[in-house]
């Protein structure tokens, strides 16, 4: 029987590759919540450590040992209070944090028997219990009359605004999109944020009062930083990341189906019906971070026939850790390290393949190793990182690093009077929701002290 190869250039990008039921299962909770029994068994495993390593590992220093003890003692609302006091986004963090390199990675039971306490799931258990009451355990101090402008309604912005509201100040958030949440809403994969969780959590945070949100307003395009500095008593910049990095290859902007991973992730999250999202039959993902791994897994779950992740260096140099790589692999994606793209092939205006050259390291520098290969592709996802937000800050005297990220001090002050910054837009950001929340908290504390000094 003759081998028939498919003619090149048939861009096989289709909707509805997977039936409804399977799709629903594929995008249900990746980590289903604990039942009451499971929570009890899990909580009983915690040793209530002194100066607990889990607490130290948490960017927001949640008192993990205490909240687990509270769950074990049948007081989940007390546990939620403990969590939310340190991290107002404890709900999303419980679902999306890479706990294996944070709290659970530090858990002494990992050292004891290779099985850490499932802190993330316990945290979700407690916060879910709180959210089920329809109330949040916060109250506002007496109004101060001070007003703060917050740019961005992502984790850093919401956390800062919330802390300011609790301190009695008023906050106005300027958000360029039409919903709050930032990457919680537009990036985190659907199976980690089921049931519209990002919106429910944002609503719970905003319910403190004293926070107004103006949607569809973008810094730079619609309002200038100078104007905000004039009109408000302080400004907190929580801009997130800016433009995606490009490969710099011919055809990158012109060919169809060569897509920025961040945009594709947002499309998946915002899709009313995943069966209507176009999925390539053969998908190539370029990059080595969590975004690459997650989109590869999602592509398989959406029915792509083959998904290949290509990374320019070795597996252990990827930003994505072992657990995250395994997640992509167990979902059926193939990872090919030590290769970088040198050309995009197109047919009739759409991408048809990618040409890669093999690489190696020579004295720390990445060089061609000789040899090349071609991968057929109906869809190419570029997940090679994002730069800072220089456009939004154009003209403003905010010091940025080479990557366009804002330089801040320990209190998150941005070196421009009355301006603070936090989250992914700052230099040295860890790219974690919890780190963004901590930035928001610290900035709020610093802003509060500065405003009170003037009262």
């Amino acid at each position: 029987m003759p081998v028939v190869s498919e003619p090149p250039g048939i861009a096989d990008v289709a909707k509805g590759r997977v039936d409804r039921a399977t799709l629903a299962a594929n995008f249900a909770d990746l980590h289903p919540p604990l039942s009451a029994h499971q929570a009890q068994v899990e909580a009983d495993r915690c040793y209530f450590c002194y100066d607990a390593p889990c607490q130290r590992a948490c960017p927001t220093a949640i008192d993990v040992a205490l909240f687990i003890r509270q769950i074990a003692a049948g007081n989940p609302l007390g546990a939620a209070q403990t969590i939310l006091e340190a991290n107002v986004m404890g709900g999303m963090c419980a679902r999306a944090c890479p706990t294996e390199v944070l709290c659970e990675g530090a858990c002494v039971r990992e050292a004891a028997e290779g099985r850490p306490v499932r802190i993330g799931l316990l945290q979700r258990y407690a916060v879910d219990a709180q959210m089920a009451t329809g109330t949040a355990p916060f109250s506002r101090a007496a109004p101060t009359g001070k007003r703060v402008a917050v740019v961005g309604a992502g984790p850093a912005g919401l956390a800062c605004a919330h802390a300011l509201a609790v301190a009695g100040h008023e906050a106005t958030i300027f958000e360029k999109r039409d919903k709050p949440g930032g990457l919680n809403e537009y990036g985190v994969s659907a199976y980690r944020a089921t049931d519209d969780f990002a919106q429910r959590e944002a609503a719970s945070i905003l319910s403190i009062g004293g926070i107004a949100v103006r949607y569809g307003v973008e810094l730079g395009r619609d309002v200038a930083l100078e104007r905000l500095r004039r009109d408000y008593d302080a400004v907190f910049l929580a801009l997130g990341l800016g433009a995606a990095r490009r490969l710099g290859l011919a055809g990158e902007g012109a060919l169809d189906n060569v897509v920025d991973a961040v945009d594709y992730a947002a499309e998946l999250r915002q899709a009313e019906n995943l069966a209507r999202v176009p999925v390539g039959r053969r998908v190539v993902v370029i990059g080595g971070g969590m975004t690459a791994m997650d989109l590869a897994a999602q592509s398989k779950r959406l029915g792509a026939e083959s998904v290949t992740i290509v990374y320019r260096r070795g597996l252990n140099q990827m930003k994505a850790g072992a657990r995250q790589r395994e997640f992509a692999q167990t979902n059926g994606a193939l990872i090919r390290p030590w290769a970088r793209p040198v050309a995009l092939e197109g047919h009739s205006g759409a991408v048809s393949g990618v040409l890669f050259e093999r690489t190696r390291e020579d004295n720390g520098e990445l060089v061609a190793a000789g040899g090349a290969f071609r991968l057929e592709a109906d869809l190419v996802l570029l997940a090679i990182g994002q730069q800072g937000t220089l456009e939004a800050l154009a003209g403003a005297n905010v010091r940025c690093d080479a990557d366009g990220r804002i330089v801040v001090d320990e209190e998150r002050r941005a070196g421009l009077a009355g301006v603070w910054a936090g989250g992914d837009c700052v230099s040295g950001a860890r790219g974690l929701i919890a780190a963004a929340v901590e930035d928001g908290k610290r900035a709020a504390r610093s802003i509060d002290a500065a405003l009170r000094a003037r009262l």
Binding site: A36, H37, Q40, D63, L66, Q70, A72, G74, G78, Q81
Partner: protein, 402 residues
């Protein structure tokens, strides 16, 4: 808004969680750490004006009874007295009370042997400015426990101290339940303002099978394992017409907020803690306060007094339980994980009333005809709420009528 503050026989404290007399309260540095952590009060480790004897140990020796995963169920110790000079203790007590005026600071006192030594030591304690004295009768009792001499000693010593002191006098009684009410009555006759129930239980944690020796000498035991004994003590006092209503500070296995709430429900105005603080450190007070607070909020209790003693009225002698109530166990097949523990407990120790196989399949189902509603299966089942007792009295009455 829940208010955890208490007024216990005139002693005010921001919450009912006080450290019991023991190793965690034997020096200023400990007590101050505890107060910084949020404890509402503390009972200073037992003072004695008797010179240390040759038999006293240079330091404490502990053993423990461990449960699953080395969870501490009981701590047993000997040689717990600090051995410090009395003057140092008295000086530190005064300093702590001055630095922490809003916290309760009671001093535990080994029951004086005669009225003269009682006069001396009570005056010294009162001079510190502390809030009260707790008489401890378990250090070297000369009167044999269980005898009427022991009860008399309680009454007499209490009377001396009560007459000599402006401060409240609490009497801490050991849990010999057969004799407890007699001694409690004696304390009341002597003028005790309150009881602390219970003092430590006599215990040996285990036996070392290599050394072929008991793990430790007969010591003072406390912790979760003694809680049922302590609860029974409170129930006994609540059930006696002479002693019912006496203010009680509970001690004996308080580990989480629920333990404290149970003691309060049986009449305690204060929950003292020792073993749990020794096991986990002073930070456990955060869980205690948060848990009790949320419980009270959920139930609509604004102050601790609002639910204190509510369960005491429901304590009943088992002989008076309702025999006409017919209860049958029921296993929730949706929750059942098929471990079979209910079956074997019933087979070996109850009424062989649980089937292990139904239609050839491993399935655990109650045989109601044989079940007497003893509750053993529900208790051994590892899944909460999987086995429940259902009231079938109405069915039984109907069947009998037919």
């Amino acid at each position: 808004m829940v208010d955890l503050s208490v007024d216990f026989v005139g002693v005010k404290a921001p919450n009912p969680f006080w450290l019991a007399s023991g190793p965690p309260t034997d020096r200023k540095s400990h007590v101050e750490r505890a107060f910084r952590a949020g404890w509402g009060g503390a009972v200073w480790q037992t003072l004695s004006d008797a010179a240390p004897s040759a038999g006293d140990l240079p330091a404490a020796r502990y053993r423990a009874l461990h449960g699953v995963d080395r969870r501490v169920l009981a701590l047993d110790g000997v040689g717990l007295a600090s051995g410090r000079d009395l003057a140092i203790d008295l000086g530190e007590i005064a300093e702590v009370k001055r630095a922490w005026p809003d916290r309760a600071l009671i001093v535990s006192l080994a029951a004086p042997r005669d009225e003269d030594s009682a006069r001396r030591i009570v005056a010294q304690i009162e001079a510190t400015g502390c809030d009260g004295v707790e008489l401890n009768f378990s250090c070297a009792p000369e009167a044999r426990p269980g005898t009427s001499e022991a009860a008399t000693r309680v009454e007499t010593t209490t009377r001396w101290c009560r007459a000599l002191s402006r401060m409240p006098v609490m009497v801490k009684l050991a849990p010999n339940l057969a004799d407890l009410v007699r001694r409690a009555r004696a304390a009341k006759r002597g003028g005790a303002d309150a009881l602390t129930l219970i003092g430590a239980v006599d215990g040996i944690a285990g036996v070392d099978l290599d050394a072929m020796a008991p793990a430790g000498a007969l010591g003072a035991m406390g912790g979760p394992a003694v809680k049922p004994i302590a609860l029974a003590a409170l129930a006994a006092i609540a059930g006696d017409p002479e002693t019912a209503g006496l203010p009680i500070a509970a001690a004996g296995g308080v580990t989480t907020w629920r333990d404290a709430a149970e003691f309060i429900a049986l009449g305690a105005g204060v929950a003292q803690v020792c073993t749990a603080a020794m096991t986990y450190g002073f930070r456990i007070v955060d869980e205690l306060a948060s848990g009790l607070s949320n419980f009270m909020a959920a139930k609509g209790y604004r102050r601790v007094d609002d639910f204190r003693g509510l369960a005491a009225a429901n304590v009943a002698d088992w002989r008076r339980l309702d025999r006409d109530r017919i209860l049958k166990a029921e296993i929730d097949q949706a929750l059942c994980i098929k471990c079979g523990r209910c079956h074997i407990a019933c087979e070996d120790a109850a009424h062989q009333a649980i089937f292990a196989t139904v239609d050839g399949e491993r399935r655990f189902v109650v045989n109601e005809a044989a079940c007497v509603g003893c509750n053993l299966c529900a208790l051994v089942c590892p899944i909460e709420n999987c086995v429940k007792l259902i009231d079938r009295s109405a069915d039984a009455a109907r069947a009998a009528a037919e």
